[in-house]
């Protein structure tokens, strides 16, 4: 909650650090040679009111009032109007982009997390040759920036070999519809960006899980279980369960990087999500879209964090018990 307040405030303060008046920047773009100074003034005031920098009587508002009006309109879901696609509202632009982003991020994070943890635990348990190959490989995958791997994959599979489409969310000659052909095309375009996300994510998770599991395998309960002659698979399951919790906390921290990376992957693949919308907005200096795009990404990130927190609460017996005892 506090994070949300800070995020909104940052979103208000930071863009105002540089150019004191966003309206000047727009006017430079809106201004056409044929415009009379009277028209110019009218448009200027119109924008000033729109951005809450001026009230209807033409008086300049204070920074505090601007802040509250910004928070108020944002909470109402009114994110303003795009500069470059003028009558179109920011929300209309982001509304179409957001599902694409979530569709890229959430499945790849979940699958990457599960696969990474299983592979990491296996590497810790088996050691030997498997670990010798696996460890450097996942170390490499962990350190490759998302967009670099994306570029390499696009070049190899998209452009040289032409196995997968190099760009877009669906075939260019199609309209979004509920047809089988459209979904097939979406899936076909999904493979490369999805692989990029999953591969890098697996690397980081696996490295973390490997060292967690090595630690767990050295503990007394595992030695005891081995002496009792419990089956290996059962022991591995116990280890995974115990190492999983710190990993879940780690996931919350890895999320930020993953989502930042996903935004860049969208640019590399021209995938029609929020990242690409941000990129075009930055090119066109469309400030409201940039600001709102960042806000939406932050909010969805906070929501995911919240879900992870709930999961930790559900899975961790310590947290669960302390909650139950508090209720009593």
């Amino acid at each position: 909650m506090v994070t949300f307040v800070v995020a909104i405030s940052l979103n208000f303060i930071l863009p105002r650090l540089g150019h004191s008046n966003p309206v000047d920047t727009i006017m430079r773009k809106v201004h056409t040679p044929g415009m009379t100074s009277k028209e110019y003034k009218k448009r200027y005031e119109e924008f000033m009111v729109k951005f809450g920098l001026m009230d209807e009587n033409g008086k300049k508002t204070t920074i505090v009032r601007q802040f509250f009006s910004y928070v108020g309109t944002t909470l109402k879901g009114d994110l303003g109007v795009s500069f470059t696609k003028y009558p179109k509202s920011v929300w209309d632009i982001l509304k179409t982009a957001l599902p694409w982003s979530l569709w890229l991020q959430i499945p790849s994070i979940v699958i990457g997390y599960i696969l990474g943890n299983i592979l990491g635990a296996l590497a810790a348990y088996k050691r030997g040759i498997y670990d010798k190959v696996f460890y450097p490989l996942s170390l490499f995958l962990m350190s490759v920036p998302y967009f670099c791997l994306g570029i390499v994959l696009v070049y190899i599979f998209g452009i040289s070999l032409e196995i997968f489409p190099p760009s877009g969310g669906y075939a260019m000659d199609m309209m979004p519809s509920f047809s089988f052909a459209f979904f097939a095309s979406v899936l076909y375009h999904y493979i490369l960006p999805f692989m990029t996300m999953v591969l890098v994510f697996i690397g980081g998770q696996a490295i973390g899980m490997r060292s967690m599991s090595i630690y767990e395998l050295g503990t007394d309960y595992v030695k005891y279980a081995k002496m009792l002659g419990i089956k290996e698979r059962t022991i591995v399951m116990y280890v995974i369960r115990n190492a999983m919790l710190p990993q879940l906390t780690g996931l919350a921290l890895a999320l930020g990087f993953a989502i930042g990376g996903a935004l860049l992957i969208e640019i590399v693949f021209s995938y029609p999500g929020v990242g690409l919308a941000l990129y075009t907005a930055i090119l066109e200096m469309d400030y409201p879209v940039i600001q709102a795009g960042i806000l939406i990404v932050t909010v969805s990130l906070l929501a995911m964090n919240f879900i992870i927190d709930i999961l930790i609460g559900l899975l961790d017996p310590r947290v669960r018990i302390s909650h139950e005892s508090r209720v009593e």
Partner: protein, 279 residues
Amino acid sequence: MKQFKLLLRSPWFVFGAAMFLFCIFVGVLYPMFSHTDPLLRGALPFEGPSPDHWLGTNGEGQDMFSALLFGLRSSLFVGIAAGIFATIIGTIIGIVGGYKGGWVDNVLTLVTNLFMVIPSILVLILIANSIEKRSMLLVAFIIGATTWPWTARAVSAQTSSLKNREHVSLAKLNGYGIISILCMQILPYIMSYVFMVFIIQMATGILEEAAISMMGLGPYDSVTLGQIINQAQKTEAFSNGNWWAFMPATVLITALQFSLYVVNTSMEGVFNPRLRKES
């Protein structure tokens, strides 16, 4: 010293460190002796590799080989400077919070956690977007100002476990001020941790610079590796298959990241006794 010898015996550490130092070496030396201006439009756009232009030219007809090495230098500069900024800010906040404890620690931890959750790339985009004249140093500072929480957290944890040691109490009894206690009694003991996080901060700095440059918000006064990729993207080198315009920069960024991560994990293996015995 013993630990340093252990480090040098670890093949991974030597490999990573050599790779990174080689990059610095090339990145510093080449621009000193080169007379090719990376901004000079001396050839046709998208010429393939040839003896004149070892890595061809980009969409503007600029020589890619010198752009790459000049870019390497700027990226390293931004990365290292960002790492230093992040380390200084993070160490001060972490050490004060960890040592003082109580409400000071609570407030500082709250701030640290806040900035840890909000991805720095988003804050970076917002700030970089609102400042029109971004020099390399400014970009480095902005990156450092958004990535310090990782250092702060590591330092704060180490400090609070150290603060009740005897030598610290002794210094307190002797009436030393807080600053001299922190600098003389605590900082030397956590230096290895600070350095390990510094390595990661450098990697993050290089990565974040590449990321915002790719977004089109890089420093305006130089060529960086991220800007090479951004340029390739804008001139559609991707779809034309002009691999020389973006591949070398991509590989170089990856190599820098990999070498730094290898150095970090191999150091962790030496300094963290829990992991040491198995390796």
